[in-house]
């Protein structure tokens, strides 16, 4: 039998302890009364040779426990002859290539190929190489398996060709995540591959190593001890780099189209040699704005707003050494007209009517020009009027013609909000859904009813998902209509009254949706309009119709753009067109800077995508920073590991011991002996006569 940790067998020497304890144990248990201990001092027991060993079998069991524990810790196994396997001793290298936006600087990317060639030139037939590229994300270009699958004479050329196909993108740099990913790839390869005695893994980083790189991921990562990092830092001429960012005014109180100036922050790199720059609108004949920025600092300047008059949307900075981040795209801010069609007999100036609150909910907005058009439901309303509306609110009975127009409106995938202020409006419900199974009755309310069981998972009520917004107990309903929903109507109840009657429900009508409230929001029915929930609720219903309120006009490369769950078409700066199906909540292909135009049935919307600001921070990042984060940085090429026979043998034995797991049986034996000792000790204690 062999042992994986033979030194732990010395723990068996502790077996002397139970022998000593056994000999003094019985004496220790005795208590002898004595008149006074004032002349006595405590003394340790002294073993005498003539003391006899009693209960020898019990002592033997105790010694056996100690010996078995020492045996278990020594991890015994039956050694078998190790197979004469060929141990690969080659190196494992992950070539990590930086393809972030900062690599677009002049002269940088051209160095990548030769640098990679120099790394690959040192590889041998036993080495394994993996190529990965990174910017904001990490992506494999050539895996270890692909490398091994190539012929020996093809490996370097194919790898270089793959690298040559790469090009720097526009994303910012997440260096930390890239290094973590590369290290994990090495670890996975060590576990999965047949190498059992190979050399250490190495990550070779080819990058400009800029200070704007994100390294947060390294803080929480325990860098593997056997993995080293070699940095092939790329340098370029010219250290002056400045970049403009738009300081967006997010206040919607002022009409954005009326702003005469734009505020722009200009940041200058710490290693810059120049401090004077110029901001000029591309395509504009007007003179530019001079900017003075101290190296390592930033300043905010106001430039004339040229975006509103003409399609001028590029603000270009000049005066630095690198132009990859010199263009600031500014999307024109266009105030969109939004029409709300209200069908009802209400007086817009009467606080007792619902229209009064609708007009105030859709008040002035910096980006939207809300128009609330009030018509009677019995007026003749043509399709033009209907189709121009972004949202239709029905608060009264309607004529047959209007009902037909509403049906056609819904067929286009639009949204209608039906507020049941009377039981007669059941005809609207029936007319739009085509189902006569709906019954609407005036409910008898005892004092008042409240809303409960709101379905905040539905997009329309998602703004109320947070606990601080989901409390509707302050909304009191004094009158409502009890609606009986047929099972085959496909209705989704969004909110219930505390009387178990449906309060709000949504019906799918053709391609559109009919959102129905069982009560109005005028003071006679409820105080919903007077609560803080009314405005976000009505805006949410408007957005569910496809209009995105508060749609942003500036994003950074790689940022997802929220969508209104409708089918849209996106025109990218490179003139490509992307179609997004309905149901998608985000557009993620913002992979280049420029002006994007988003078109849908409700109109078009433009937004700008620019480089992330920190990508412009091109000052060199010290390698010490990576070392401080626990990364083992080395200048030397990883040496091919040549395990000694001892190492190979030790690893082989470790595998054998792992397979046999004899220590488990030894521990089981410990348990059995321990239980026997306990039982025997208890039995002997019962039978021991009292000492005389």
């Amino acid at each position: 039998m062999s042992f994986l940790f033979p030194l732990l067998l010395t723990g068996g020497l502790v077996v002397a302890l139970p022998i000593v304890l056994h000999m003094i144990r019985q004496r220790t248990q005795q208590r002898v009364p004595f008149s006074s201990l004032m002349f006595l001092r405590p003394a340790l027991p002294r073993l005498k040779h003539r003391r006899r060993l009693e209960n020898r079998f019990l002592l033997l069991l105790r010694c056996l426990i100690v010996l078995l524990l020492a045996l278990a810790f020594a991890r015994p196994f039956f050694a078998k002859a190790l197979p004469p396997t060929v141990v690969r001793v080659g190196r494992r290298i992950v070539l990590l290539v930086d393809t972030s936006a900062s690599m677009r600087r002049q002269g940088l990317w051209e160095q990548v190929g030769p640098m990679a060639r120099s790394v690959l030139a040192d590889t041998t037939a036993l080495d394994r190489v993996c190529v990965m590229r990174f910017d904001r994300s990490l992506e494999s270009v050539l895996s270890f398996e692909e490398w091994e699958g190539l012929g020996l004479d093809q490996r370097v050329s194919v790898t270089l060709a793959r690298i040559a196909d790469l090009s720097p993108g526009w994303h910012d740099t997440d260096l930390g995540q890239a290094l973590v990913g590369a290290a994990e790839v090495l670890e996975d390869d060590e576990v999965n591959s047949a190498q059992s005695g190979g050399g250490a893994g190495q990550v070779v980083l080819i990058s400009d190593l800029q200070q704007g790189s994100e390294v947060q991921a390294l803080h929480a990562y325990d860098w593997p001890a056997r993995t080293t990092l070699m940095v092939k830092s790329l340098a370029c001429e010219g250290t002056t780099n400045a970049a403009p960012q738009w300081v967006q005014d997010r206040s919607h109180a002022v009409d954005a189209t009326e702003k005469k100036t734009l505020r722009v922050r200009v940041t200058n790199a710490a290693a810059a040699q120049s401090e004077q720059f110029q901001l000029t609108w591309s395509g504009s004949s007007a003179s530019g704005t001079a900017v003075y920025v101290v190296p390592g600092h930033s300043t905010v300047v106001s430039v004339p707003n040229q975006t509103t008059a003409a399609p001028i949307n590029q603000l270009v900075l000049t005066g630095d050494d690198h132009d990859f981040d010199n263009t600031l795209y500014v999307a024109p801010q266009v105030r969109q007209q939004v029409t709300i069609l209200y069908l009802g007999p209400d007086d817009p100036n009467d606080p007792e009517d619902m229209l009064y609150y609708v007009k105030r909910a859709f008040g002035s907005h910096g980006l939207y020009d809300f128009q609330v058009v009030a018509r009677s439901g019995h007026d003749v309303i043509g399709d033009e009027d209907i189709n121009a509306a972004h949202l239709i609110l029905v608060a009264d009975t309607v004529s047959r013609e209007t009902l037909g127009a509403l049906g056609r409106y819904l067929a286009k995938g639009r949204t209608v909000l039906l507020a049941l202020t009377s039981v007669e409006q059941a005809a609207v419900l029936t007319g739009l859904t085509g189902s006569t199974a709906f019954t609407v009755q005036e409910a008898e309310v005892d004092d008042y009813a409240m809303l409960e069981h709101l379905d905040v998972t539905y997009p329309l009520l998602r703004p109320f998902a947070a606990p601080q917004f989901s409390d509707f107990t302050q909304v009191h309903i004094w009158h409502y209509r009890r609606v009986t929903l047929p099972d085959d109507a496909g209705a989704r109840v969004l909110a219930w009254f505390d009387t178990d009657d449906p309060a709000w429900f949504r019906l799918k009508v053709d391609q559109g949706q009919l959102v129905t409230m069982s009560c109005g929001w005028q003071p006679e029915d409820s105080d919903l309009a007077l609560s803080s929930k009314f405005v976000p609720l009505i805006y949410s219903i408007l957005e569910s119709g496809g209009l995105s309120i508060g749609q942003g006009i500036q994003y950074y490369v790689g940022d997802p753009v929220p969508l209104a769950s409708r089918a849209i078409v996106v025109h990218k700066p490179d003139q490509t067109v992307v179609t997004v199906e309905a149901g998608q909540s985000r557009f993620t292909q913002t992979n280049q800077p420029g002006i994007y135009r988003m078109e849908s049935a409700l109109g078009s919307h433009s937004f700008a995508v620019n480089l992330a600001a920190r990508e412009s921070n091109t000052s060199p990042l010290s390698v010490d920073t990576l070392e401080q984060l626990g990364v083992t940085v080395t200048d030397a090429v990883a040496e091919a590991g040549v395990p000694t026979e001892q190492v190979r043998q030790a690893r082989g034995w470790a595998v054998q011991e792992q397979e046999q797991k004899i220590w488990r049986w030894v521990l089981l034996a410990v348990w059995v002996v321990l239980l026997t000792e306990i039982a025997l000790g208890a039995w002997l204690t019962q039978g021991v006569p009292e000492p005389e």
Binding site: R31, P33, F34, L44
Partner: protein, 316 residues
């Protein structure tokens, strides 16, 4: 009368006496046995000093008639000895739990109670008043000096109560006794004295200064003296309950040294005060204790009578 190491009296083994269950009877046996031994000696009376004469009255023991004086005066006179004067004797008995220790057939408490009972019986029959004070860290029971019928029985009942005290303090009981006892007399302290004795000299001295005659009988078990136990175990203090792991083989020498110093201190301070001090182990015959008691009394009276002898005017 001169005291001389005369013919030894036959001493009874305490173990044999202890088989007598009744304390009163046991004491009586001891005293009567001692009387018989004394009366067999050629020396009349016992080792007490002659003090005076008194007229013979029918019923007196004719052995004490002074025939020479009769020849001179033609009148019968009985010799009176100092013991026949009114003596008040207080037995101050240690009643702490340390006294309940015993390595043999009887404990120190039983030995001390027997000793006290013997002295009480002896003195009672001499016509002396005997009182009893039981103490541990304070006086727990006090019976004043009396010589009345059946009072001896009361003393025996009190002596038979087992010791319960959780501590021993010598000073406080002695102070209490000194405050209660106003008349000069004899105070016999029976204790194992296994307690700090830093105040003992002061308290004994105070009693002695009040005119009391003090005798100290220190009673110890042979195991306490020799510490020849052979059991390594947890030794528990009977008074405090404290436990110590003791290996007697390793602790014996140190124990005996410390005990020896303690005993020497007691002996030195008693000698310095003129207090009688006798060390007894519980195997020593009670008769010997009684003899020691009588010898002490004799010496004490001799020491006190020297000034009086100078004033004596002869025999009445």
């Amino acid at each position: 009368m001169t005291d001389r190491p005369g013919t030894p009296v036959t001493l009874v083994d305490p173990g044999a006496l202890m088989r007598i269950k009744s304390l009163e009877l046991r004491a009586k046996v001891i005293v009567e046995g001692l009387w018989q031994g004394i009366h067999r000696s050629p020396y009349r009376g016992f080792s007490v000093e002659f003090t005076e004469y008194r007229h013979y009255t029918p019923g007196d023991d004719p052995r004490y008639i002074d025939w020479r004086l009769y020849a001179r005066s033609d009148r019968l006179y009985i010799k009176m000895f100092e013991d026949e004067t009114n003596l008040s004797c207080h037995l101050l008995l240690d009643h702490s739990r340390s006294m309940s220790y015993g390595s043999g057939a009887h404990t120190k408490a039983q030995y001390a109670a027997t000793l006290g009972a013997t002295l009480a019986t002896f003195l009672f029959h001499q016509g002396d008043a005997v009182g009893l004070a039981l103490f541990d860290d304070a006086l727990r029971q006090y019976l004043p000096c009396r010589n009345r019928p059946n009072y001896l029985h009361r003393l025996m009942v009190a002596l038979e109560t087992p010791p319960e005290g959780r501590a021993t303090h010598l000073g406080r009981p002695m102070r209490q006794l000194a405050q209660m006892v106003t008349r000069r007399g004899l105070i016999v302290l029976i204790s194992d004295l296994l307690t700090p004795i830093d105040r003992l000299e002061w308290e004994l001295g105070a009693l002695f200064a009040r005119g009391h005659d003090v005798i100290v009988f220190q009673v110890l078990d042979p195991a306490e003296l020799a510490f020849d136990l052979d059991t390594s175990a947890l030794y528990e203090d009977l008074e405090t309950g404290r436990e110590l792991y003791i290996d007697p083989a390793t602790a014996q020498q140190g124990y005996k040294e410390r005990l020896g110093r303690h005993l020497d201190q007691i002996q030195t301070l008693c000698r310095g005060l003129g207090v009688g001090y006798y060390l007894f182990d519980t195997n020593r015959p009670f008769d010997a204790a009684l003899l020691d008691f009588m010898q002490h009394r004799m010496r004490t009276r001799r020491a006190r009578r020297r000034p009086r002898r100078a004033r004596s005017g002869g025999v009445q």
